[in-house]
């Protein structure tokens, strides 16, 4: 029974290993690393939005917080990068917890607006605390990741580290999504009152998934900081939060692989759209609208429906 449950993760691992063997040039690896970092954040956001149904329009703020804490601890205080990364996601988890307490009492538009406001406030702190974060001109001189004597400065080594961390995050998310917690999140998404009536403290679960998604975002932020070794507030603003939400929606909510697909698709798409030059903003906007209207289940949903039509079994046994 266990192997069947992990078949899809093993295939994902194969994909992760195969990619750098096929794509060896720095450009391909660079886009791959950014895709992995997006997968980490989007998977956390998918648990929050797709599974538990709680929207967040400010998650780039948590990515930024993780990136800045990692940058400050390693560059200014010369900490070991792994210790800094862990401290970062613990701190971000604590901040997310206290932020979640009042915020997750809200629902619908109010929740959307509160998370958006929080993202903006984090962004403003990044650009105003000039002597700590370097302000709008950015934070220079972040060291590369190091393990003993090995320095991960080349894209291939950074890819390996990022891929390993991504795999762990996906494994954790798979566990969270497929056992008890995942069921309760999905139930909350469909009918929170009914779940309360069964004796579940849904508020506790919502805060939990919010903290988990913030911790994942922080890890992605730390990895990003050690990849580009320069960060500035511009990459953690409102526009970035919307991109992350789009990846979850386009990929397919409520399915780990939906989020992964969305992250990969929307990291590579702009690279292919470069030929459109100025028009890619129009393609992006219309893509967002078209997906919501014609593919509400996102790419994952569409795959399921197409696959379902082919097999058209009676009781849709393999739901």
């Amino acid at each position: 029974m266990r192997l069947k449950r992990y078949a899809d993760i093993l295939i994902f691992a194969l994909l992760l290993i195969a990619y750098p063997l096929i794509i060896t040039d720095n450009y391909g690896l660079n886009v791959g690393i950014f895709a992995l970092e997006n997968i980490i954040t989007v998977t956390g956001l998918n648990l929050l939005m797709g599974y538990a149904g709680q929207i967040s329009l400010g998650h780039a703020g948590f990515v930024g917080l993780g990136a800045y804490i990692s940058a400050i601890l390693t560059a200014t205080y010369h900490w070991n990068c792994w210790l800094a990364m862990i401290t970062a996601f613990v701190l971000v988890g604590i901040v997310a917890f206290f932020v979640a307490l009042p915020t997750l009492k809200l629902r619908g538009h109010y929740l959307a607006m509160a998370t958006l406001g929080l993202g903006m406030i984090l962004y403003i702190f990044f650009s105003q605390l000039v002597d700590i974060t370097g302000g709008p001109s950015g934070f220079v001189g972040i060291p590369y990741m190091r393990f003993g004597s090995l320095t991960f400065s080349s894209y291939s080594t950074i890819y390996v580290v990022t891929a390993m961390i991504t795999f762990v995050i996906i494994w954790l998310s798979k566990n969270l999504a497929s056992f008890k917690a995942g069921r309760i999140f999905r139930a909350i998404h469909q009918d929170e009152e009914a779940v309360v009536a069964l004796g579940v403290n849904t508020y506790h679960y919502k805060v939990l998934v919010f903290v988990v998604s913030a911790v994942f975002a922080s890890i992605a932020g730390s990895l990003y900081a050690h990849t580009v070794i320069f960060i500035s507030p511009a990459s953690f603003g409102f526009k970035r939060s919307i991109q992350l939400v789009t990846m979850v929606m386009v990929g397919g909510m409520g399915n780990i692989w939906g989020g992964v697909t969305g992250a990969i698709f929307l990291t590579y798409l702009p690279e292919f759209l470069r030929i459109f030059e100025d028009y890619d903003i129009i393609v992006y906007g219309s893509l967002l609208i078209l997906v919501i209207i014609f593919m509400p289940g996102g790419i994952a949903g569409a795959v399921e429906d197409i696959y379902g039509k082919f097999k058209n079994t009676g009781g849709r046994e393999d739901r």
Partner: protein, 290 residues
């Protein structure tokens, strides 16, 4: 003396936010949707008027009217092409679709027009009006007056006219509204049209003092929404009260606390209201039926 100036400029900016908040309320009242592309209607009102005035050399009044009409027509297009197909989708989808609309409208405006900032001449000159030692540009008087008029006009519209009540009904319970013969589709379209007109007017009115560009919609939209929530979502009087308070808080925090953290304080205020009093200053608590 400074305090009066902070108060005066706070009220002036606040009245601009109020006008945008009114646009939010219009759509919210008729459809229960928060339109994240509202800021883009404001932009279209401004940039449209600039285009008709500077490039097609319309006289100022006609340029502004056509700018406002352009925003209105876009409102209809947004409703027809993106809102109606998913009318009863989840709040999440509606929010994301309106965000998609705002990105698309911004992209088209950028390509059709340009990326620079533009201005419009003020309606009645630039000589500031002085009272109690504070100065305010006449254009802001226009904005304050127009926002009060539109509040009264729309407040009455929703409370006393049949179509107004029909709009409210179709947002509370579309099915019931259809049963009593309200054409909910048409009402939703009207709500987007009227809301876009008002926001376009806000854009045209503000451009002489705040200037405009293809991407001015984002921050104005957020401020407008914050004003609508602080005041009381769905209430026209709430939009005015919320807008003015937001303007004053912004002005005082920039002047007295720190101009760098001005927006952080504004969003902090929004959060405070969302947590403590989501129904806003003038709204009452809505009983949530289980």
């Amino acid at each position: 003396m400074d305090l009066i100036q902070y108060l005066v400029s706070g009220i002036s900016i606040g009245s601009a936010y109020a006008l945008i908040a009114i646009g939010f309320n219009l759509i919210y009242n008729a459809t229960g949707i928060i339109n994240f592309a509202q800021g883009e209607f404001v932009m279209l009102g401004g940039m449209g008027s600039v285009y008709f005035y500077h490039y097609l050399h319309f006289p100022l009044i006609f340029a502004i009217l056509s700018g406002i009409l352009l925003a209105g027509v876009t409102g209809i297009l947004v409703e027809r092409l993106s809102i109606r197909p998913i009318r009863d989708a989840s709040i999440l989808s509606l929010i994301i679709v309106t965000i998609g609309d705002s990105i698309l409208i911004r992209g088209i405006a950028m390509l059709v027009w340009d990326k620079n900032s533009h201005a419009l001449p003020s309606f009645s000159g630039d000589i500031p009006i002085r009272f109690l030692g504070a100065a305010v540009s006449p254009q802001y008087i226009w904005i304050i007056v127009v926002s009060i008029i539109s509040m009264l006009l729309l407040g009455g519209f929703f409370r006393y006219t049949i179509t107004g009540k029909a709009m409210l009904a179709s947002s509370v319970d579309p099915v019931a509204a259809r049963l009593v013969g309200i054409n909910v589709e048409r009402v939703t379209m009207y709500s987007f049209f009227i809301s876009a007109l008002f926001s376009g007017m806000a854009g045209a009115l503000m451009t002489p003092v705040t200037l405009t560009s293809y991407d001015i919609g984002i921050s104005l939209g957020l401020k407008g929404f914050a004003a609508a929530v602080v005041g009381g979502l769905g209430r026209m009087s709430g939009a005015l009260v919320g807008g003015i308070i937001l303007g004053i808080v912004e002005s005082f925090s920039a002047g007295l606390i720190s101009s760098g953290y001005k927006d952080a304080i504004t969003f902090g205020l929004l959060l405070l209201f969302l947590y403590m009093r989501p129904q806003g200053i003038v709204g009452e608590i809505k009983a949530e039926r289980v």
